[in-house]
Amino acid sequence: MSTQVNVRLDDDLLNEIDSISKVLHVSRTEWLRMKIALAVKDDALKLSESIALEYAKGRISEKELRDLLGTDADDIIYIVKHMKRGKKYIEEMVGKGKL
């Protein structure tokens, strides 16, 4: 299922889009659809990374992390746990002069 969305664009921008899509042999709509999908994917990734960092910094709880990221939360919890363990290991080993 898809829904039509109407967007007003400046003529200059539209001309640029038309030039690019012509070179790429795709329609203006197809080019815009792909660019929007890429932008959404990129933003979603950045948002997920920000959420992961918030959890690592202790600013959101494990439950909040799970609510926001679903199954990816398990990996983040595991990574953060071992990030802290690894730091402690390095500090201890450097303290003993072994690293």
Binding site: L45, S48, E49, A52, L53, Y55, A56, K57, D75, I76, Y78, I79, V80, H82, M83, K84, G86, K87, Y89, I90, E91, V94, K98, L99
Partner: protein
Amino acid sequence: MKPSFAFDTSALISLGHTELINLIIENYNIIISKRILQELKQINKGLDRDAISAKKWLKFSKIIKLKEAKDSKIGENELFEICQREKIPMVTDDIKATKKFKNKIEWIYSVHLVFLLYYKKIISKERALFSIEKMRTERSWKDNLISVTGRILFQ
């Protein structure tokens, strides 16, 4: 004598995206297995950013120490044997593999090695954070999680 770390391919590729290879080699012995070397050579054949990273490490193939282990299709299995035998820690970003090791060997992420260089005052905090940021921009989402959350090491 320099301390030793056994590196798997994921950690080498992550660290290869930084400018820290020379410093790591100067300060630590890099131990790998036959399978890890094969994986690096395979990645080196590609055309992506990871291939550039692999190439950087392969330039040091005479300095990197290749240790014997029972042949395995999985590089981490060979490294696991080496780590147990030599009693050295592994550097890996392979989450799946680390779940298999549990507490049988010591292991750390590649970002911990960057932290170690900072902790030993070999590099500045700014350089360490810049290196982790560089690793983040080059790796996939799951690998990114390590460099994204790795920032807490410097809190």
